[in-house]
Structures are given as C-alpha cells and as structure tokens.
Symmetry: C2
Subunit: 415 residues, 2 copies
C-alpha cells in the first residue's frame, strides 16, 4: 500500500537521530566533529553508512578514489539515476552538519520511499564524495573534481598529506579503494542539500535557499616590499611601511567588492617578516580570496584590485606583487533542476529565496558535466567550519523534504 507521494514527508526524528549518531565518529569535546578524510573516523562513518545503505536495500559501489555510490533501482533501468548526496568528511574542528546533512538526508529520502513503498521511474543513487573539505589533502572537492575529469586519478592518488601519506595509501589503509572506475557512474541529474554556511537565510527568515549560482573564485598570493626601519627615528614622511600598505589594500578590496555588488573580497592571511614592536614592517606576505557569481565581475575584481594595489604601491614607494594562483569560473546550476527545487519548496509551503553559494561544493564540480542543483538550509549565525556550527531539526527536515520532492519530481513515481 503506497501513501500518496504528494503528501509524503521524511521522518524528522529519524534524520536528526542519524545526524547525531554519525556525529559520534570523531566527536570533539566542544560538540563538533574532527573527521579528516580517509582517516580512522572516516572509515567508521563510511562503514556505518555502507551498512545503513545496504539495510535500506541499496547496492553500494566504491570507485578508485573512495567515492561511494549506493543505488536504488527504478522501474526504468535504461536511464541513469538521479544522484543525491554530499560528503561525510569534516574540517579539523568542524561541525555536525557540513556535508553530513546532505548525505544523511539522501539516505533518509530512500528510507522514506521504502517505508511508503514508492518506486521511482528512474533509479536513485545516494553518494558520498571523498575529501570535500581539503583539510588533509589538496585540492578540496577532490573526489568530485577527479570524477568530472579536472584531475587524473593518478595525480590525485599521488597527493600526500602533511605526514607524507599518499591518497592511495590512505585509501588502502581503510579499505576504501574500490574497483569502480572513477567517472564511470552516470547520473541523469544531481541534487545536493547543504547548510548555507552564510547568514542570509537566517537574517531574512527563509527556510530554504534555492541555489541558483556558485561563485567563481580568484585567489592571489601577495607580497609587499617596503623598507624596515626604526619606529622611533624614522619620520612619518620617510616611511615605506609594508603593513600600512597592506592596510590600504585590505580596505580597497573591501570597497571594490562592496561597490561592484555580487562580489566578496577577503584578505585571510597576512604575515609580517621579522615583526618587532619598534620596527616599521619592511615586508608583508598576504593572500586575497575574491569571488563573484558573475564572470564579468570577476574580471572587474581582477582589474580593479590590481589597479588599486599598483596605485597604493606607487604612492607609498613600495613594491606590491600580486600572483593569481587560482581562477575558478562561476557555476550556473541547471535551470530545470533549480526550477524543480523551487517548485518543491513552494509546494511544501517553505519560505524560500534564490541564493548564490559563496562556498564551493561537489555539486559545482558535477555541474560542469551534468545537470546539478543545490538546496540550502539556514545555519545558526551563518557559522560553519567551526565546532559551534548548528542548525535546527526543523530546518534540516525541511531541507530533506525539499530534497525528497525534488528527487521525486525528477525521477518520477512509477505508476
């Protein structure tokens, strides 16, 4: 006996319990999670996840980089499945929700369909991507990046962590180097549920973010070479102060990103060479992270930041070198899938808004090769990558319900 699919809701308590069950693998005293990719805690959660998927009747396959694919058959097996999921690894001092919510909500969707006896037309595939966080191995979003061909498998297998352990070794150590070829799994589309990791939904009182775009990124390494001199005996007008130069650059980036709109800009690292209380800083190295969902604005950010730095350098008679170390183009999620997410949110009566993802996600990588979209739910104070990361049971359930109904609309209910 099947319930009508249109009224279907996931089991909020079961999802919440599952989140807290897996949060034990790598639990920290402050209530967060430390579960570095391919480490012993990641093996624990992977083992738990595989067992749970198998109990839910899914066939679990693992590819050569440890990406996990748990298949639920559909009526029409001639078409690739709709994928749903995220990642189970965390930051070194991470929270319970980043990534985990998306993977466990996908499992909850399957359990809900099973309970309701609903068969879908297209098959479904619950996914756990390897090393989304990038804390132990670079690059972040490694599994999905290799999946879409941005890196070769051999390149990734050879990457080493700080202790010199390769990805290949780490996969073998925990028994998660599978035999499915990387990239072999096909998808008709992919939906990722994730916490927002920003403050917008909470600030606006929205439950669901319909993720339309992912920001493109420019990363720079910067170096300012001024002149180190005595803080007491060097008059203000004779100074070539590298920190004062950086200060103008930091504020210029803030102004430029604000003026352009649809952009952010941050100096996250700044180190004075040979700092001393009574010495004018002579050299400062720093990094810039600037982003926009609009490729044209990325270009303007590049031009304006470089022009500002050059102008400040000339005025202060110092050298400023800016080295662009990474450019990632903006993500524009598949309009059909974005529409499906929005329809599901509206049908369920959740307050929602279109939103741009500030952070990178596996779905951004996947979108370069197949139709993808994302669902955001609020997180407390916008905090993520932090043991204080928090989200409500009700918002997590809302996100899972939107995931359920988006997937149902894409996969179809078998008549």
């Amino acid at each position: 006996m099947t319930k009508p699919a249109s009224n279907l809701q996931i089991d909020s308590s079961r999802l919440w319990d599952t989140i807290h069950t897996t949060a034990q693998f790598g639990a920290t005293p402050k209530g967060g999670v430390r579960r570095l990719t391919l480490g012993p805690e990641d093996k624990q959660v992977r083992d738990w996840f595989r067992t749970a998927c198998e109990k839910a009747g899914l066939e679990v396959q693992i590819d050569g980089l440890g990406n996990m694919f748990a298949l639920r058959k559909g009526r029409d097996m001639s078409k690739p499945p709709i994928g749903l999921g995220s990642h189970l690894d965390t930051q070194p001092t991470g929270g319970k929700f980043d990534g985990v919510l998306g993977t466990l909500a996908a499992l909850e969707v399957i359990r809900t369909l099973n309970d309701a006896g609903i068969e879908t037309e297209l098959p479904l595939c619950v996914t756990n991507w390897t090393n989304e966080e990038g804390s132990r191995y670079a690059p972040a979003m490694m599994g999905s990046a290799a999946f879409v061909g941005d890196f070769t498998v051999d390149d990734i297998l050879g990457r080493e962590d700080a202790a010199g352990i390769s990805v290949a070794q780490a996969l073998d150590d925990i028994g998660y180097r599978g035999d499915k070829p990387v990239g072999a799994q096909k998808f008709s589309g992919f939906i990722e549920l994730h916490i927002e990791q920003g403050p917008i939904l909470e600030a606006e009182g929205k439950t669901i973010g319909v993720v339309e775009h992912g920001q493109g990124v420019l990363w720079y390494d910067g170096k300012i070479t001024g002149f180190e001199s005595h803080a007491g005996s060097t008059p203000m007008k004779h100074r070539r102060d590298a920190l004062a130069t950086l200060s103008e650059i930091v504020l210029a980036i803030e102004t430029i990103a604000t003026e352009l709109g649809n952009a952010v800009g941050t100096v996250g690292e700044a180190v004075i060479a040979a700092p001393s209380r009574n010495v004018i800083p002579g050299e400062v190295t720093f990094t810039i992270d600037t982003r926009s969902a609009d490729a044209g604005i990325l270009d303007q950010l590049d031009q304006r930041i470089r022009a500002a730095a050059a102008g400040i350098a000339a005025k202060r008679k110092v050298e400023v070198a800016l080295d662009l170390v990474w450019r990632k183009e903006p993500t524009h999620f598949d309009t059909t899938l974005v529409g499906a997410v929005e329809n599901a949110a509206n049908a369920l009566g959740y307050q929602n808004r279109r939103i741009t993802s500030g952070a990178g996600h596996d779905a951004c990588n996947l979108n370069t090769r197949l139709p993808a979209a994302m669902i955001f739910v609020p997180c407390k104070d916008g905090v993520s990558h932090n043991e204080l990361e928090d989200a409500t049971q009700s918002d997590c359930a809302a996100g899972a319900n939107v995931l359920l109904h988006t997937v149902l609309s894409l996969a179809g209910v078998a008549k």
Copy 2:
C-alpha cells in the same frame, strides 16, 4: 709641548681603524656584527677596550653590572669628571657603528689629548654601558637604567635570557661583575656620540645633529575580536573582519601622528589567529609604538588613538582592546650641554641642525639624574639595527671632533 686646543682634530684614520678592529669581535658574513651583551664576543671587545684604555693611561673600574668607567685625571680632582661614551654590545644582526662609534670616539678623544699633551681641568671618564640593546636581556639600556636607580641591582642581576642564564651568571662567566657600586660614579656631565639611526641628517645634507630632545614613548598591546566566518559565503555587509579593523586602525595612527606633527606612530606586530586563505580573520593581536618629544602630544596621541580605535570598533561591531604597557616621558637634554655641542659644531664649521632622538639611548636615562647631551652623525639611508648599517669615515671623524671640542669646553683646558 702642547698644540693649541682650538685647532685640535682627532685622528680620523685611527678612529676608523679602531672601529674596524673591534668589528672583528662577532663579525658576520654580511659585514655586520653579532655581539650580544655579556656573551663571549662582548668579553672579547671588553678585554680589548680595557687594554686600550689602560694603554692610554686611564684607570678602568667596573661596577656590579659590568658598566665600565675609564678615568683620565684632570687638574682639579675635586670635581666629578665629564663622561663620554656609549655601548659596545650590538643587536643579533647589528652593524659596526651603533653604540660602538660613541665608545671608540671617546677613546679617540683621550688618545688625541694624550698626543697633544693636553691636560683638562676636570677629569674625563670614558664609559661603556652594559646591555644597551636589550636583545639578550630586557630591559634595553639596562646598565644606565640601574645606574640612575630606575631598577634595583638585584632585580637586574636576576633577569634571565632565553636560555635561562641570569645577568649575574653571565657577568661572572665573562669576569665582568666588578666591585664598584652601581651608581657610585659621579659625573659633572655626560656626552654621547651616536649614529642618528634615522634619515633626517642625510636627507638634509647635515653632518652633525645637535640632539635637543629624546622622544617619549607609549607602547600598547592591542587585540581585535571580530567574527571568523567563511570568505565565500559571508556577504560584505555581514562581516566583522578583524584584519579590516586593524587596517583602519593602522591608517588612523598614521594620520594622527602626521597631523599632530612632532610624533611618530607604528604598528610593528600583527598576528591573525588561525589564519586561512578562505576565512575572514576573527581575531588579530597587534602592538602600537607611538612617540613624541612633547609630553602634551603624547597625551593627545593616547586620546586620539583610543578614540579612533573605539569609533572603528563601534562602526564594525567588533571589540578592540588597547592596553598601555609602557609610558616613558620625553627627554629634554641639558640646555647648557646642548649649547656646548652646537657651539663646537659651529666652531668646527660643520653643517648642523637641532634634532630629536627617535630612539632611546643611555644618555636619555642619565639625563634624569645629571646634565647630558648627545651628538648625532648621519648613517646611510637611516638604516640601523641591520648588518647593512653604514656611516662614512668623514662623518664619524666629524662627530668625534665635535665630541672632543664639546668635552674640552666642558672640562676646560688646564692652563
């Protein structure tokens, strides 16, 4: 047979050779000197200096903190001597001139008087102060500070270096804990020749700086507490960026010091807690060093810097804590002695100007208890505390000649 004192000149080559002889004690491959106070190289230069003083007929006494006093008798031994000298220790990567010039020029003055057969009315006392630099032991200018009673001898003897070696132990290790009570040596006045350690004389083409004032100092420890969040997903208007806050403070200090005039202000240290390329800095600690030769301006610096920091903190919704860790009042050198330096420079035909010392010196400490003054000569590009520190033979000789004639005018030539 005595030469007329008014035409007397020091021996420029002998002074230059002496500077380069002592630069061998702790010579670095880059042409600088590493001669940390009370270490083996300091013992080498002290031994050399004691022998040179004794060869010049001086009686060398050493006090309980290793301060060295080399006395040349005058005709009238009822009056305390005119002191002249500086220090022989250096920074870890120091130069050949900082301190050394003042001590060796004092020795050169004695040698010149000896060669000319000139007896002075008042006795003279060539001095080498212990630990002016403060690199191995805090505080800097330790020997002269204890000499004037700012610290007790026991306090100083108990200070330890990074390896846990006390000042007492270090003095005993090199045999320079003398039996003369600290502070027992009396002076009728004290003249210190030093390189400027700043760019003013060189920039203005002056040979001699007649040092009128020494700057007072305010030192602060600062801490900014904003909020760490994701550089991609936190909109510009939601940020509480600790580094952008510091940037405004750095530029405000620059503006305040420039507007007040007769002041400098520097942020020499700034450390982001848990820096990461894609994280908005949530906490920054920093230091401020601000100085003026005018106590009223010091007060204004304090008020305006605190007000600026509070305003920036309120605007950015962050916390800024400023802790004043040191206040040193400005030095106003003895007007008679300053006049004597100026007269000597004019009589010798050297281009000169009144100047304020940006750095602290032993003479600043001494001036709190006895009449003192200083003579500056230019150093290349204003660079000091650096192996690149440099000065010309001609400028060093000019400084020594001004020292000679200042001392002669103060001590008087015995008829």
